[in-house]
């Protein structure tokens, strides 16, 4: 922990994912996602993390900085730049074939090692990615970094060297706090992510995007496909749902009766 409470170094982890609005399909021959016509975008959940970091930086207004961290191929640079255009100060990309095909464990190990080189006070993440949808990385990162993890935050604030969040629960919220350095994952309820301004987009072109390789991290374990502890052994395409029946119900009572009939046939009633 830093003894003095000064400007914060805030890190935001981001992932690049296939466009959420595209109708994706799997090539039956190669069993891989057909990428044609599917754009790569910033994971929508990460935009809330970026916005939360920027709002905190603006509120503190004490020289605190926001750094974007991503594990991606070099082609992800333009998407990382979008985060810079929103207002982040700089970015660090871990680009290495040795991390390709990492499972959750490998991703947590490599990303934590990257973050450790940056001496952060606060790490902010989204709650999950739209492609893997595991929601496990924030907890794994916190553990690997050896810092408290405050997950599912809909509100966060930093004061006197502590971060305090409102953690969403199924029925309300909890207020939880921890000493910095800490990790916070923010939910969609936390904020409304800003669009990059024209000035932001122009400014982002001059911001530094540093590239790191696995050799820069001092990793002692193998990550990537070979090191995976959850190994993909099969990938199958389930049969598509068939189109069912359509009933026109100008008379509501008849429409409701038709549904009840259907529910009885399927033994729901």
């Amino acid at each position: 922990m830093r003894p003095e409470v000064g400007p914060l170094k805030i890190l935001v982890t981001v992932k690049l994912v296939p466009d959420t609005n595209a109708d994706k399909r799997i090539d039956p021959a190669t069993k891989r996602l057909v990428r044609t016509g599917v754009e790569t975008v910033l994971n929508p959940f990460d935009e809330y993390a970026i916005e939360a970091a920027l709002q905190l930086k603006e509120k503190l207004n004490d020289g605190s900085t926001v750094t974007i961290v991503s594990m991606t191929s070099p082609s992800g640079k333009e998407i990382v730049r979008k985060a810079l255009a929103m207002g982040a100060d700089d970015a660090v990309m871990l680009c290495d074939d040795a991390v390709a095909g990492s499972d959750l464990w490998g991703t947590a190990v490599a990303l934590a090692a990257t973050i450790k080189t940056l001496d952060a006070d606060l790490v902010i993440t989204g709650t999950q990615s739209t492609d893997a949808i595991s929601g496990d990385l924030p907890g794994m990162l916190a553990e690997k970094l050896g810092i408290p993890g405050l997950t599912y935050a809909r509100k966060l604030d930093v004061a006197d060297g502590r971060v305090r969040v409102e953690r969403e629960t199924e029925t309300g919220y909890m207020t939880v706090s921890a000493a910095l350095p800490a990790l916070v994952s923010v939910t969609k309820s936390a904020n409304e992510p800003r669009y990059p301004s024209l000035k932001g987009i122009m400014g982002a072109k001059k911001k530094e995007i540093k590239q790191l390789a696995v050799a820069d991290l001092g990793l002692t374990v193998a990550v990537g496909t070979d090191g995976a502890k959850a190994q993909l052994t099969d990938l199958a395409t389930p049969p598509a749902r068939a189109k069912g029946q359509t009933i026109a119900a100008p008379d509501p009572a008849a429409g409701a009766a038709a549904i009840v009939q259907f529910l009885k046939e399927r033994k729901f009633l």
Binding site: L33, W105, I133, G149, K229, A236, F262
Partner: protein, 323 residues
């Protein structure tokens, strides 16, 4: 892996259903692997939860009275797993379950599989079956490279069955550690209700609802008639009509209830990927040309505001007739 440990999530001793599903599944898998079925329960009310667990087919129920939020649960799991030597840890794929499972996996350096809907075992090897990309593909991932592994099971997929199990209660010694996270307070904003992830029937509303009111009236009434939960599309959540916790879809929750009723929801891909693995899908919409008609089992074209209350009444009548 040989033994199976179910992490039990509870609130002041009242166990979440997904944890009872984990406890039941722990037995099935332990029998396949030739090991023991354990449960780990920690925090305030753990002893009370342990009493409930005696009705489930477990060999040992490990109780930690330490109330240190996530930290206490992870420490308890770690001590039980290490004593067992080789173990698969089952957690519910819920907010707390993910926090505990993910931290355990990182701590012991093992694989973790999320949103598991099925298992296969081969000797001591465990593979997990998981729908990915919103049910577009079904992946199988083998847990390897460690004596441990974690599977976060999708709620409402595995059965929770009480049996005449007589698990031995084992007290976990206190570690005396301080919590890294301080819980300052806990606020209940809504009555405790079944979330969309755990409900077997989900009634969701979309843009066609036109405002917040139907979510607490006609949709809620229909969901209540089934003992189910109210869900929502992104459009309804983004409009502020209902909270994000109810959202079903790519930027919300991915669920597979037995029955999904979509009211005033067009069924865009964003929504479809969150609910297409539901067993049965019924849609009610004023437009017969909506995309949801392409994959729903039944699309009723009409005025949802008139059909839904009528349907609620008929469902209540049918349920009452069976009661």
């Amino acid at each position: 892996m040989q033994n199976v440990i179910a992490f039990i999530e509870h609130k002041h001793g009242a166990i979440r259903r997904s944890s009872l599903e984990a406890a039941t599944q722990a037995r099935t898998l332990a029998d396949q692997l030739g090991g023991k079925a354990h449960a780990v329960v920690a925090g305030a009310g753990a002893a009370q939860a342990a009493e409930t667990l005696k009705k489930y087919p477990l060999d040992q129920i490990h109780v930690s009275d330490e109330d240190r939020f996530i930290d206490g649960a992870v420490d308890a799991l770690e001590s039980v797993a290490k004593a067992a030597g080789s173990a698969l840890v089952l957690v519910g794929n819920t907010m707390i379950g993910r926090d505990v499972g993910s931290r355990f996996a990182a701590r012991v350096d093992c694989g973790i599989n999320a949103d598991v809907v099925d298992f296969t075992t081969d000797g001591g090897a465990v593979s997990c079956v998981m729908p990915k990309l919103g049910g577009l593909v079904i992946t199988t991932c083998k847990l390897t490279g460690s004596d441990f592994g974690v599977a976060a099971i999708r709620p409402n997929v595995f059965a929770a069955k009480e049996t005449s199990g007589a698990g031995e209660i084992v007290q976990i010694p206190s570690s005396g550690k301080a919590s890294s996270v301080t819980v300052e307070d806990e606020v209940e904003e809504a009555a405790a209700e079944l979330g969309v992830e755990e409900a077997s029937v989900v009634v969701s509303g979309g843009r066609g609802m036109g405002g917040p009111e139907p979510f607490t009236t006609i949709l809620k009434d229909l969901a209540d008639a089934f003992g189910g939960a109210v869900g929502a599309s992104r459009a309804a959540v983004d409009a502020g009509w209902v909270s994000h916790g109810h959202q079903v879809g790519q930027t919300g929750k991915t669920i597979s209830p037995q029955l999904y009723i979509a009211v005033g929801i067009s069924g865009a891909i964003q929504h479809k990927v969150g609910m297409r693995t539901s067993e049965t899908i019924i849609a009610i919409n004023k437009d017969g040309g909506v995309p949801i008609g392409e994959f729903a089992d039944l699309l009723v074209v009409g005025d949802a505001f008139a059909i839904v209350p009528e349907l609620t009444k008929l469902v209540r009548d049918a349920k009452a007739a069976h009661a």
